[in-house]
């Protein structure tokens, strides 16, 4: 043991090994890996919760759980999926790829980066602990208010609401820290010659996301803190009896909540064109148009929040303003869609798993976006609002548009991260199972919503039985097929066919000039960009 084994004392030996490497690391790739692993675990946790819901909704009548437990499941499922699965996945990619793509040795603020990550596990515990304890009969469980915390219901709730409020605080701090780090990195650490308008699309997506996070997370933190003081310190922010207004909470919440949708999607809109150009073997079309569209969407996302509660009561001019401004987002979004399709047009396309996920993503996210356009209409929204139509719509944007995009990114960069090729056959199987079962899960929910089934009900009228059954069966297929994904990732990380540096025939960009996997400290010499 004491013999000198380090003949070539290079950067590989500069860090502690074993568990201490992961606990103390400030390395962007290690932290990125931890973010991604955390996200995958929470994706499975949140997914199992919703399978509990779908099992209960498999047929009419209450079979498995009482309504209160059902409400806890839906709330915790949403919070976990949004804050603990999707957001950390995007941050994980940012940590891994942004320094590689812009030719930086690491993130600008590595210790902040470490802290940003280590806030996540405690908040995940805060989110799930009351729920887990309730399973063993201790306490009254997690928040049963849905992820939106609407008062006065959340003021009635038990200690689970306080747990969720603190979890949101921690997750918010983590996101803001991550955002500051990304902004500083992008502004200060780009390789010589890489102007902002030469920056990779993914970096642009994240830059705008980071600004949105910094602008909106404090509003959410403020809103839930007001809720906390209403619950315990006798304030009446949201209580009419003391001069407050429950609807004010909805304004504050959705001032964060609507941009949040774009916070989840903008990073994906960043790397989707990169994947498209790789597998079309042709540079992305309309780089500038896409950048300006991303900026426009980011800016518009914070002025449309009230379309989430049209039915809560608003003056007519406000209704019209929020309707028209919401519809206007379709303009820059359409520009993005046309650029993506033009990138593929007359390319030389091949369909490896990342490309399959990307093409599927464009189609399914298109459905999510178009149904969103319809939802903007105030009058029709009276019908859609809080019905299963909305559930289907936002799963098309957040599962198809968010998670399937993330999966495309995982397959695209996994060989670069691990140095091994994943199993292509399993990847393709995973795609087809996911795409088909996803549609079979959520298309019936559009019809359920139109026919009049409200969301968040534990039991339903018999006329809704068939569609719910189809939806439940498909949801289980969807859930189980994610195990293929997990297996594929683990086996790729453990070994397999060596990946080349470029990995994909059409891949271009600084990250593909490094070895696979990249050295512990990415660029020992700063590259220059022409």
């Amino acid at each position: 043991m004491s013999t000198t084994t380090v003949a070539h004392h290079d950067e590989y030996a500069d860090h502690p090994n074993g568990i201490m490497r992961w606990l103390t690391t400030t390395n962007h790739k290690d932290i990125g890996t931890m973010y991604l692993t955390f996200s995958l675990i929470m994706f499975l946790v949140g997914g199992s919760m919703i399978l509990g819901i779908r099992a209960e909704l498999f047929q009419p009548g209450l079979q498995l759980m009482n309504p209160d437990f059902f409400n806890q499941l839906i709330g915790v499922h949403a919070l976990i999926m949004i804050f603990a699965a999707l957001m950390p996945a995007a941050t994980g990619f940012a940590n891994w790829m942004i320094p590689l793509q812009i030719g930086a040795p690491d993130m600008a603020l590595p210790r902040l980066n470490n802290w940003g990550f280590w806030l996540l596990p405690p908040s995940a515990i805060l989110l799930t602990l009351p729920f887990t304890l309730a399973l063993f009969g201790i306490g009254d469980g997690a928040l049963a208010t849905g992820w939106t915390f609407y008062p006065p219901l959340s003021i009635q709730g038990g200690i689970g609401v306080d747990f969720a409020i603190f979890a949101v605080h921690l997750l918010g701090i983590s996101s803001v820290l991550g955002s500051i780090n990304i902004i500083v990195t992008l502004f200060n650490m780009r390789a010589p010659g890489m102007t902002l308008m030469k920056m990779p699309m993914f970096a642009w997506g994240w830059l705008i996301t980071a600004f949105l996070l910094i602008a909106t997370i404090p509003v959410l933190a403020g809103a839930v803190t007001m809720l906390l003081t209403d619950r315990h310190f006798g304030t009446h922010f949201f209580d009419a009896a003391g001069g407050g207004d429950p609807i004010m909470f909805q304004h504050l919440f959705w001032f964060f909540g609507h941009p949040e949708v774009y916070i989840l999607l903008l990073p994906v809109w960043g790397f989707i064109p990169q994947i498209l150009q790789t597998f079309s073997r042709k540079p992305m079309y309309g780089y500038k148009a896409q950048v300006y569209s991303l900026i426009a969407i980011g800016a518009m996302s914070i002025i449309v929040w009230a379309h989430h509660f049209f039915t809560a009561g608003m003056p007519v001019p406000a209704l019209l303003y929020f309707m028209y401004s919401t519809m206007a987002i379709s303009l820059p979004l359409a520009v993005l869609f046309f650029c993506w399709i033009k990138t593929m047009w007359r390319g030389s396309m091949s369909f490896e798993t990342p490309m399959l996920f990307t093409v599927g993503w464009i189609i399914l996210f298109g459905i999510g976006g178009l149904t969103g356009l319809v939802l903007a209409d105030v009058a029709a929204d009276a019908q859609y609002h809080n019905s299963y139509f909305v559930v289907a719509h936002f799963h098309y944007t957040l599962f198809a548009g968010g998670i399937m995009g993330i999966m495309a990114g995982v397959y695209y960069w996994l060989p670069k991260m691990t140095g091994h090729m994943y199993n292509e056959k399993l990847g393709q199987l995973h795609f087809w199972l996911t795409a088909i079962s996803f549609n079979l899960t959520f298309i019936p929910q559009f019809f359920l919503g139109l026919a009049g089934m409200p969301r968040r009900i534990p039991d339903y009228a018999l006329q809704f039985a068939e569609f719910n059954m189809i939806s439940s069966i498909s949801a289980f297929v969807l859930g189980l097929s994610q195990l293929i994904f997990v297996y594929n990732i683990i086996s790729t990380a453990r070994g397999g066919k060596k990946a080349t540096d470029q990995v994909w025939e059409g891949a271009e960009g600084l990250e593909w000039t490094l070895s696979s996997p990249p050295p512990y400290h990415s660029f020992s010499e700063q590259p220059t960009v022409k």
Binding site: G61, Q63, P246, M349, V378, Q383, H385, S387
Partner: protein
Amino acid sequence: MLKQAMKKIGFGLLLLLTAPLALAEFRWNFPEPVTPMALDTLHVHNKFMLIVAVIFVVVLAIMIYSLIKHRKSIGHQAVADKAPSTATEIFWTLIPFVILLVIDFVIMGIPAYHSVIMMEDTRNESDMVVKVTGSQWRWQYEYMGNTDKGSEDGLIDAKGIKFVSNLSTPQDQVNGTAPPVDTPDSPYLLDVDNRLVLPVGAKVRILMTSTDVLHNWWVPQFGSSRVAVPGFIRETWVQVDKAGTYRGQCKELCGKGHGYMPVVVDALPKEEYAAWVALKKNEINEQAAGADKEWTKDELMEQGKVVYEKNCAVCHQVTGAGLPPAFPALTGSKITTSPIFDANGKYLPDSHMDRVLNGVRVMPAWKAILNDSEIAAVITYERNALGNSVGDVIQPAQVKAARQ
């Protein structure tokens, strides 16, 4: 010959495609609209859906064409996109921009504008006013009376009628201990004991509020959905143009009973509506008389059981076992077994009477919901059944006194 056969096949296919749509319209689209607002909503929805479907299909077709024709595996070589001239670029940016602008703000925007104006027009030309109050987990309806227009139109004035509407599906089905049963008159989870009754053809202004948390009064066939906010009044309106029974549900997550808060509305022709109003007013008079008389214990126990199972059993269970910790057991509870009145006949604070009248934490104040005889009956029942046997009897007069 071939042409005719093709025609027949084509016609058959068309029938096959449209038949399920026509037969089961309810399942694939909004349920049949019965108010002007719902009709308008359906038109707007159909129009928008058609537009987005066309956009989707066109874009998808272009994309699929490219996916098939521009594959590497059939040897297609990537064609470099040449930088377009400024004029071309401006042209190709402006054209889609204008198309989308027209779709968004003209084709979709103008009808949407009119729908909003119509939807929010709650006061003009209304015939009568009904107040809807959401409570965990039941609706309360109160007829606030006719407007001048309603009286001119000869509508009978229902002012003063006020009742609570509870889910009427048996508790054992709701709890999952018995299988769900659907009958045409009483569909599972969609039926109530007291329905809101409205006259056909009258424009009814609906005022909405709540006693505890947010609720949303929603009948899909009316196209109206409004959040009931505690401490505030929200408005909407309905004008049912077709007699019938219409069902909906609460649409805003309002706690554990959220799925068990149906809305049922009977729309009756004007004469039948007048008869219903007369009947209901008669009932109110009888109840007022009943509050003044002395009831026997058996009468109270009998009515108390009905009131208990309708209103209290949801939380405290049919057996009185409760759902701790939020809803304590009534069996053997300090509240249900300790005395209600002090030596002077005044009711004690924190007594059984106090709890039922004024509520506590998540339990509502029942004095706003039940009348004197109902409260007297249910307290008597809770003290002498559910495993309790205190033996005392509460009279409606005592409740009436306690209210003051």
